[in-house]
C-alpha cells in the first residue's frame, strides 16, 4: 500500500471508526459499522498477470478495519460464494460464538446469506481477519485465497511515535503440490505479493528523509514463513503479534511465520530507492517485495542482501527470567505418524486426531 492508498484507506477506516453513539444500542436494527462481502475476484497482481481467488469487498487485502480500543463494533459479512464461509477475528479476546472459528461454535455463513458479528475488540494492537474454512486438499480455498485483511485496534494511549503508518500483508498465490519426492509435501507457489502487487508492479511507498515509519506487517500466507529485509536500513521491532515487546530491538531481517504479525519502526536515514522484500532471492523474484522511494529520489530500486540471520525472540524479551506458576497445567502431547513420503503425516494430540480430540476443560 502506498501513501495515497493508505490515506484513502485510512479515510475509509475513519468512516468505519466514526464516533461511537447511542445507535450502537440498536444493533439488530441499525446498519453495521463494517460491511464485508466475500466473493470471487480476478486479481491483477502484475500487468496482465491475474490470479483467480476469493476476497473481501473486491480487494486484497480486505478493507483495513481500524477501531478504537474498548468500543463495540458490528460487522456484517455477506457470503457471495457458493460454499459456506466464515470470518475469524484473529488475536482478539471475544466470545467463541463471535470469534469466527467454527470449531469453537461460530456458525458458518451459508452461500448467499449474511452473518452479523458483534463484539468489543480487544486487546489493542495489530490483529487481522481471515477466512477460517479448512482448505484440505483444495488449494483454492481457505487461506490460500485472498480472504484476509488488517484489523488495527487503536490503543487508548497510542503515542504515535512515528510519522507514517504502513500496513503490509504478505501472501503467496497459486499453491500446488509437486509430483514426487518429499518436497511435494510442502505447497509451492507461483507468485508472491506484498498487499496485492508483485514487486515492481505496484506504487512505491513514498517516504521522506528522517521520517519514522511504522510498518505493520501480517504474514497472510497459508504455509510460508517469510523473511523480510529493508535494503539500506535497519528495522526496530516494537511489537510482535500486535503486542508491544518488552525491549524494542534492532534487526536486519524479520522472520514472520504464517498468521504472525510484527510492527517495525524504521528511521528513514538513507535516501534512495530501496526494496523491502523477501531475503530469499527466489521468493523475492516471485514477487514478494515493495519499493520504498525517498522524496526526490529516482532510479532502479536497490536490493542489498542483509547479513544472514538465525531468528531469535530473546532480544525482545526481558533479560531476567520470570517464573510464573500456572493455575492449571494441561499436558498436550503432539505426535505425528508417518504415512509415507507421498502423504502427510497423521497428527495427534494426546493420541487423538481432530475432531476426535478431547476438549480441554478449565
Amino acid at each position: 500500500m502506498n501513501r495515497r492508498e493508505f490515506i484513502a484507506k485510512s479515510a475509509a477506516a475513519a468512516a468505519l471508526g466514526a464516533p461511537f453513539s447511542a445507535k450502537h444500542n440498536l444493533w439488530a436494527q441499525a446498519s453495521a459499522d463494517v460491511h464485508l462481502e466475500i466473493a470471487p475476484l480476478k486479481l491483477e497482481i502484475a500487468p496482465g498477470k491475474h490470479v483467480e481467488t476469493i476476497a473481501c469487498n473486491g480487494q486484497v487485502p480486505g478493507p483495513l478495519i481500524r477501531w478504537p480500543e474498548g468500543n463495540p463494533i458490528t460487522i456484517d459479512v455477506v457470503n457471495r460464494t457458493n460454499i459456506p464461509e466464515i470470518v475469524h477475528w484473529h488475536g482478539l479476546w471475544i466470545p467463541s460464538d463471535q470469534d469466527g472459528a467454527m470449531e469453537e461454535g461460530s456458525p458458518m455463513i451459508a452461500p448467499g446469506t449474511q452473518q452479523r458479528y458483534q463484539f468489543t475488540p480487544q486487546p489493542s494492537g495489530l490483529r487481522w481477519y481471515h477466512t477460517h474454512t479448512t482448505a484440505g486438499h483444495d488449494l483454492k480455498r481457505g487461506l490460500y485465497t485472498g480472504q484476509f485483511g488488517c484489523f488495527y485496534i487503536e490503543p487508548k494511549d497510542e503515542r504515535g511515535a512515528y510519522d507514517q503508518e504502513i500496513f503490509l500483508t504478505l501472501h503467496d498465490w497459486n499453491a500446488y503440490m509437486g509430483a514426487a519426492t518429499d518436497a511435494s509435501m510442502d505447497a509451492s507457489y507461483d507468485y508472491s505479493t506484498i498487499n496485492d502487487r508483485m514487486l515492481g508492479h505496484g506504487a512505491p511507498i513514498q517516504v521522506k528523509q528522517n521520517q519514522r515509519v511504522v510498518f505493520r506487517i501480517v504474514n497472510a500466507s497459508a504455509t510460508v514463513t517469510h523473511w523480510l529485509g529493508l535494503a539500506g536500513h535497519e528495522m526496530t521491532v516494537v511489537a510482535m503479534d500486535g503486542n508491544p515487546v518488552p525491549i524494542p530491538a534492532s534487526i536486519t531481517a524479520l522472520r514472520v511465520a504464517p498468521a504472525e504479525r510484527a510492527d517495525l519502526v524504521v528511521k528513514m536515514t538513507n535516501p534512495g530507492v530501496w526494496i523491502l522484500g523477501e531475503t530469499r532471492d527466489d521468493i523475492r523474484k516471485a514477487g514478494m517485495g515493495i519499493v520504498i522511494e525517498y522524496a526526490g529520489c529516482q532510479g532502479e530500486p536497490k536490493w542489498i542482501d542483509p547479513p544472514e540471520v538465525l531468528w531469535s525472540y530473546r532480544p525482545f524479551a526481558h533479560p531476567e527470567s520470570v517464573t510464573v506458576q500456572p493455575d492449571h497445567q494441561v499436558p498436550l502431547l503432539f505426535e505425528s505418524k508417518f504415512r509415507g513420503h507421498g502423504d502427510f503425516d497423521y497428527w495427534t494430540i494426546n493420541g487423538k486426531s481432530y475432531p476426535e480430540t478431547d476438549t480441554v476443560m478449565l
Binding site: 509437486g178 530469499r280 538465525l310 531468528w311 508417518f338 513420503h341 507421498g342 502423504d343
Partner: protein, 266 residues
Amino acid sequence: MIGSLCSCIANAQDNYEIQVYGADTVAPKTTMLELHSNFTADGTKPLPGSKYAADRLYPTNHAEHETVEITQGINNWSEVGFYIFTSARNGDGWQWVGDHIRPRVRVPDSWHWPLGVSLSTEVGYQGRQFSTDTWTWEIRPIVDKTRGRWYFAVNPALERSFHGQTVNQGVGFSPNAKVSFDFNKCISGGLEYYADYGSLRGFESLHNQQQQFFPAVDLNVSPNWEINFGVGVGPTAATDHLIVKGIVGRRFDWTHHRAGSSGSIQ
C-alpha cells in the same frame, strides 16, 4: 545408468551404475557426489586358455566396479552429471573404464504436472576391453510418482552405438523400472528392474535379452544423503547372474546458508 548395449549382441558390461532414475534434479548451487559400488558375484568368465571372455571383453565374474558420479544442479529444472567408470579384478588391477556426461532437464514444478517427468541424455566412451561398443548415446525419459507409501518410476531408455560392434543395429530399447514401499520414514524397500530388449528393429528372444531384478533398499537417513543397496539376479543367458550393488551419495549445498536462516530455502 550407463549406455548398455544390447547384451545379447555385444555382451556389454553395463553394471557400472545400476540405478533407476527419479524425475527430480539436483538443486541449483548444489553438487551431488555418488559412489556406485557393484560386485559381480556370478558373471562372465574367461574363455578356455584366454584372459578374456567372449568378444575379447574382460570377464565380469568377481569384478568390482566403482563409479564416481558428480552431478551439478544448474537451475531448478536442469542438471549435468559426469561419470568416471573403473573396474578392479584379480589379476587385472584397477582400471579406468571410461567416462560419460549426462545433461538432464525436467518439467518444472510450476507446470503443475501430476507426475514427475524428466529427460536425460547420456553420451560417452568406454574402453574396448570393457564394451564392444566404445562410443554410445542414450536418451532416457523418466516418469515417477510418489503416492502415500508407494513410489513408482519408469525409465524407458533408448540407446545407440556410434562406434563398435552394434553400430549398425540402430536404436536399442532398455527399460528400467522401480516400485518401492516406505516401511517407515527411514527405510524403503522394493524391486528394481533393468532390461535390454535389443534393437527396436526386432527384439531379441527372451533368452538373449538382458533381464535383471534387484530387490533393493533405500535408506532415507538425511536429505543430504542417498543410500541404496540391492542384490540383482539375472535369469537370462545374456545377463550377469548375480550382482551386489550399493550407492552412497552426499549432497553438497554451496550456498553456505544455514537451515532456517534468512538465506536458506530449508
